[in-house]
Symmetry: none
Subunit: 225 residues, 4 copies
DNA sequence: GATGAATGAGTGTTCATTCAT
DNA sequence: GATGAATGAACACTCATTCAT
C-alpha cells in the first residue's frame, strides 16, 4: 500500500487533495478507502458493514472499491491485514533489550495493555475476525509474518530473568503472551457488556493506570519466584 | 416463559410432535425457535444471521417468529437473555461456602474456566453483543439480575481469605472477577486467530488441564500474600 | 404449473384479474411471469434478457420472480421446459395411424414444418439453448420425456411403408427426424441472415406453401423407392 | 486490413513480439484482438461476451479495442464480417466446372457439409447473429459481396444437369442452396440439444461420413429425375 | 393461532466505456 | 499510439417484514 512508498508521496496526496485534484494518485485512493472501510467494518462487523456507506464517505466511488479490492471480502481482508501489520510494526519498535528482566517485562505488559486500550478499532476487527472463525486471516499471507516480534521479545526477557534467578522455571513465552493478551484484550473487547452488568467503576478515566498496574502486577507475580 | 430452563419441555415438545399436535404447545414452539436462533446467531453474528435460515430449521414457520418475538432484534435479545440466564443459574449453583478460601478460589476459577471452555456458543453471543456495543443487553431486563452471584461468591471468598491472613489487602471482588473472566473468556473468544498465528499447541486436547491450572495459578499468586 | 389444476381455476384467475385482484393466485402469477419471460428470453437471449424488463411487464414485482424461480437461470430453465413440453404435447396429438404411409409421412413433415414456422419463439429458445451448449436442458428433467412421440410416429410410418414395399430399406426414424427437423428448423432459425444475403423471395407470404411442399417432396423422394 | 486471410501475419506477429516491437504493428494488434474476440463471441454470444475477457487474453489493452473498433458492437460486427469473408473465400475456391453435373452437385453438397462441420465457430456466429435478428449484418457492407459464389456454382451445375436431361425442371439454385444449407447447418447448430434428447448415435465419429452421404443422397434424389 | 404469498428498499456486483497522462 | 485509472448506470439478487385468508 501507499504507506510503503510514503514520505513525499503522502504529502503530495494531501496537497493534491487540498487542490481538489486527487486523481491519478492510486495509493491515496486506496489508503482513503481503507481508512473509511476500517471504521465501517470495526463499527458494524463484516456482515453489518455496507459498501454503500463506505463509498459515500470516500473521496471516490463505490466502483473504485471493486476496482482495487475485488469484492467486500477482499476489502475486509485488506483492512484486517493492514491492521495486523501496523500492530506488528509497533511491537517490533519496542526496545527492551537494555532493561533488566523485571523492568523489561513490566514495560512490555504495560505497553501491550496501553496499545490495546488505545486501539479499540483493532481489537474490534480481531473480535469480528474471530466471530468469522478466522476464515479471512487463514487465507491471508500476513499471518506468516506475524508470529515473531512479540514472542521473541518475551523469550529474551524470560530467558534473562531465568538466568538472573529472578523468574520461575517451566513457563513459556507463548503462554505468557497468551496471558498478557487475554488481560489486555478483554479489557477492551468486553467493556460494553462488562460495564452494563457491573457498572463502569473499573473504567473510570482516572483508574486506567490502576488497571494497567494490576495487569502488570498479575503477570509479574506469576512469573517471579 | 423461561422455556430454556425446563428440561422436560423439550421431551414434551417431541411427544407433542409425535402425536402430531405440537401446534397447540406455544412454549414448545418458542423453545424450538430459540434453540435454532441461538445456533444461527452464535454462528453468523446478528447481521449475518438469516431469519429464513432459522425458520427453515424450525418446526414452525417464519410467521411464528414474528408472532412471538416481534422482529429480528427481539429474537436476538431473547436469545441473549436466555443465554445469560442459563449462565447465571450455573454460577449460583456453585457451592463454595464450605471450602477454605484458597481451595474455594481455585475451584471458582477452574469452574469459570471450564464453563467458558464448554460453552463457546455463549462466549460467541457475548462477543457479538460487544460488537454491537451492548445495545441489546442495555435495553434488556436481565442485566439487573446478573450482577450478583459471581461477585458475591468472590466477596465471600476474598473476605474469608483476608480474615485468615492468606490474601493480600487492597483487592476487590469486581477486579478479581474481571481478571478471572478475561483469562477464561479470551481462551475461547480468540482461539481462532490465536491458533492461526501461533499454532494450536496451547489448545491440544491433553493440555486443557494445563491451561486451566495456569489460570488458577495466576489468580492465586496474584491474590495470595 | 397452473395448467395442471386448470379448468375452473384459470377462469377464476382471469376474473380475479378483471376485478383487479389477482392476488393469492400463485398459478396465475407464475404463468404470467413465464409468459413475459419467454418473450424476453426469446427476443434477447439468456444474457441479453433483463429481469427488470420482465418484472416491469409482469403483473407482479421482480421479487416474485425470485420467489418462484430462484434466479435468472432457474426462470430461463422453466421457460425452456414449458416450451419443450408444449411442443411435445402437440406432437403427440397428431393422429397419423389411420393414414397410408406416404400420406402419413407427408402430413407429418408438413405438420412439423408448419409448427416450426408458427412458433418462432420456440425455435429461438432452442437456438439460444444451443448457443449455451445445451447446459440448461442437460440439467432439466424434461429431456427424459421428450424423446418419444416424434420418433415413434416416424417408426410406425416407416415400418408400414417398408411393409407395403413403398419405402427404401436401411433408413432410420432418428435419421429421418433429424432431416425433417433440419429443413423445418433452419427455415425459421436462419431467416434473418438468409434473407439479408439472398433476399426474401423464398419467404414471400404466398410462397410459404411452396416451401412446405418442397420440404415434403424432399423427404418423400428420399424415403420412397 | 483483411488480416484474417493472411497466414503469414500470425507468424510475423509472433516475430514482432519476439523482437519486443509488435507495438509498432497495428495490423498484428488488430488481428490478435479479432482472433480472441471471435472465440469469445462464438462461445458466449454477443451479450454474454465480455470486453474484459477479450482484453485479458489479448497482447494489448482494452483501450486498443476501443481505439480500433469503436465499441463492442463494432468489434462484433468486424468479427462477423471477417467470418463471412473467410467462408466466401473458401466457397469461391471450389472448382466444379470440370465435373459432370451429378458429381459436381455431390461434391458441392459434401463440401458444404464438411465446411460447416469443420467450422462450428462460424456456425455459432451466424446463430448468434440470427438471435439478434441479423441487425449487425444488415448494416455491414459485406452482405453485398456475399450473395454470389455459392449460388453461381449451383446455377451452373443445375443448368448443366438440366441440359443433360439429368435433373428435374422447376427447381432453383436459391432453393437448392437453402436446402443444402439447412441440412448442413442444423447438424452443427443444434447438435447440443439434439444429442441431449436423442443421444449421440448420429454423431459418432465413425458415422460422420454416413451423415454426409445421407445429405448428398437427399439432395441428389431431390434434384434428379 | 397459523400459513403461503407477497413486497419495498436495499445490497453487492458488473458492465461497456472514457479520462488523464 | 498506448496505458492504468476511473466511472455512471445498470444488474442480478437478498433482506426483514407484512398481507390475505
Amino acid at each position: 500500500m501507499g504507506a510503503l512508498r510514503m514520505g513525499g508521496e503522502e504529502a503530495e496526496g494531501r496537497n493534491a487533495l487540498a487542490r481538489g485534484s486527487w486523481k491519478q494518485d492510486p495509493d491515496a485512493v486506496k489508503t482513503d478507502i481503507l481508512r473509511v472501510a476500517r471504521e465501517e467494518f470495526a463499527t458494524h462487523g463484516l456482515s453489518g458493514a455496507r459498501i454503500d456507506h463506505i463509498a459515500a464517505r470516500t473521496r471516490t466511488s463505490k466502483r473504485m472499491i471493486y476496482y482495487y479490492f475485488g469484492d467486500k471480502d477482499g476489502l475486509y481482508r485488506r483492512v484486517l491485514e493492514e491492521a495486523y501489520r501496523t500492530v506488528r510494526g509497533r511491537e517490533a519498535s519496542l526496545d527492551l533489550a537494555g532493561l533488566p528482566p523485571v523492568e523489561a517485562l513490566r514495560k512490555l505488559v504495560g505497553h501491550t495493555f496501553d496499545h490495546h486500550r488505545d486501539n479499540p478499532e483493532f481489537i474490534r476487527l480481531v473480535m469480528i475476525e474471530n466471530i468469522h472463525h478466522g476464515a479471512h486471516l487463514a487465507v491471508s499471507d500476513v499471518i506468516r509474518e506475524l508470529n515473531s516480534a512479540a514472542i521473541e521479545n518475551l523469550e529474551d526477557i524470560y530467558g534473562r530473568g531465568l538466568e538472573a534467578g529472578l523468574f520461575r522455571e517451566g513457563l513459556s513465552a507463548l503462554q505468557l503472551h497468551w496471558q498478557i493478551s487475554a488481560l489486555s484484550f478483554f479489557s477492551v473487547s468486553n467493556r460494553a457488556t462488562f460495564t452494563l452488568i457491573f457498572g463502569d467503576s473499573l473504567y473510570a478515566p482516572d483508574r486506567r493506570g490502576d488497571m494497567r498496574r494490576d495487569v502488570e502486577e498479575m503477570v509479574l507475580r506469576y512469573v517471579m519466584k
